[in-house]
């Protein structure tokens, strides 16, 4: 992944309606964000749809990106993930979550294996290691799979209240750890 400043400059060019810069930005960032869509949506067609709509929003809103408030990749990933979450929440009647899990084709390594790879962000890695295994798993699964508390409870076979507590305490501890 190119340096944050470079992505930031490309986004600024997009704000000036530079279509070549937008294409370069897409080529550099789409594979990572497509992987995130696949991780949450588990279906290639839905992931493509979300990716497309998200990049159109990135193009439309490029002028609103403020580099003082967020890193370029974070800003873009929030847009993509927000749309994926919206789709997931809307599709609850299709039961995209737990039921279709075993039927869904393998769209990559599970989130827990992914964490075993090297992490660029040392602080987050260390702070996640400080959490209990259940807290860490809950947070990571929620992030990569977009699970609700109920879906987490089903997936981990743990009571709803327990799962809510893992998330709440895990996040609280993460915050305390990450703050200087």
């Amino acid at each position: 992944m190119p340096h944050a400043d470079f992505l930031q400059a490309l986004l600024a060019d997009c704000a000036r309606r530079d279509r070549d810069a937008f294409e370069r930005l897409y080529r550099l960032t789409a594979p990572r964000l497509f992987a995130m869509c696949l991780s949450m949506l588990r279906r290639e067609d839905l992931a493509e749809e979300v990716l497309q709509e998200a990049y159109l929003q990135i193009w439309r809103d490029a002028a609103r990106f403020d580099p003082d408030r967020a890193a370029a990749m974070t800003w873009m990933a929030v847009i993509v993930r927000h749309r994926a979450l919206d789709l997931l929440r809307r599709k609850t009647e299709v039961r995209l979550g737990e039921q279709q899990d075993h039927d869904a084709p393998d769209t990559g390594p599970g989130p827990l294996e992914v964490l075993q790879r090297g992490f660029d962000n040392r602080a987050l890695e260390l702070c996640l290691e400080q959490l209990s295994e259940e807290q860490r798993n809950s947070i990571v699964l929620s992030f990569f799979r977009g699970f609700t508390h109920q879906q987490l409870s089903d997936y981990l076979a743990a009571p709803l209240g327990t799962v809510k507590s893992w998330i709440r305490r895990g996040l609280g501890q993460l915050k305390r750890c990450l703050q200087p």
């Binding site: 594979p31 990572r32 159109l56 990559g108 390594p109 993460l174």
Partner: protein
């Protein structure tokens, strides 16, 4: 839910960013965000904290159709060079060399079509000012037909059309041969006097007109492409 308590605010913001806040509670939080700048900053802090997780994912290349769909939906650039080449003598003279090379290649290609006998065809490669070939025209004078094929899809605004003109030369005004498509091909009927004038004509040209073509019978929009007519070998 006490939205003034900083711990609760922070906890809500964290769960909002993670995605575990949903339904009624999520909607209420989103409404708060609209007016609460400090809460927005808290959300941004959580995003900065959690989103580096994205970097642990191995890349997956999206299929080309995704980019194609995106690029189709962002406004196309304005058609370049809306400068009429009609009076530009340099333009008329300068590209002949390149065009004739292209025509030679095309003529060889046509000669290689052995599946059916090819009647004598007048050929023109119609190119833009940057000498990029845009259409291939083939005139079958025995049938009074001109077939025209786009070699690459040409960009055109929805309220515009391309119109094809025969340039008879010798000071005579251009004759419209009809509208031609920006992509794909079509077959135009040549009026007998046009078919007769074609072998001696100076060339073909394409202008950009409003949607139904020129209302006056003469080019009203810029002439963006032209081609020399090459007789059959």
């Amino acid at each position: 839910m006490n939205h003034r308590n900083p711990q609760i605010r922070s906890a809500l913001a964290g769960e909002y960013v993670l995605g575990t806040l949903h339904g009624h509670a999520r909607r209420r939080f989103e409404r708060l965000l609209e007016t609460d700048e400090a809460l927005r900053r808290e959300v941004e802090r959580w995003q900065a904290a959690l989103y580096p997780l994205v970097d642990t994912l191995p890349d997956r290349e999206p299929p080309p159709r995704v980019w194609q769909a995106i690029v189709r939906q962002i406004a196309p650039p304005a058609v370049r060079r809306e400068v009429s080449l009609w009076n530009n003598l340099t333009f008329w003279r300068s590209w002949g060399l390149i065009a004739s090379t292209i025509v030679l290649i095309v003529a060889i290609y046509l000669a290689m079509d052995l599946t059916r006998p090819v009647p004598p065809q007048y050929v023109a490669v119609i190119s833009n000012v940057e000498q990029q070939a845009a259409w291939l025209a083939q005139a079958d004078l025995a049938e009074n037909r001109l077939s025209i094929q786009a070699l690459h899809p040409q960009e055109v605004a929805p309220d515009r059309s391309f119109e094809l003109w025969l340039l008879p030369g010798e000071g005579k005004p251009p004759r419209s041969l009809g509208l031609i498509p920006a992509q794909g091909g079509t077959s135009l009927t040549l009026p007998p006097d046009v078919a007769q004038a074609l072998p001696q004509a100076a060339g073909l040209a394409v202008s950009l007109e409003s949607a139904g073509g020129s209302p006056t019978g003469q080019p009203t929009g810029p002439v963006l492409y032209q081609g020399q007519i090459v007789p059959p070998a």
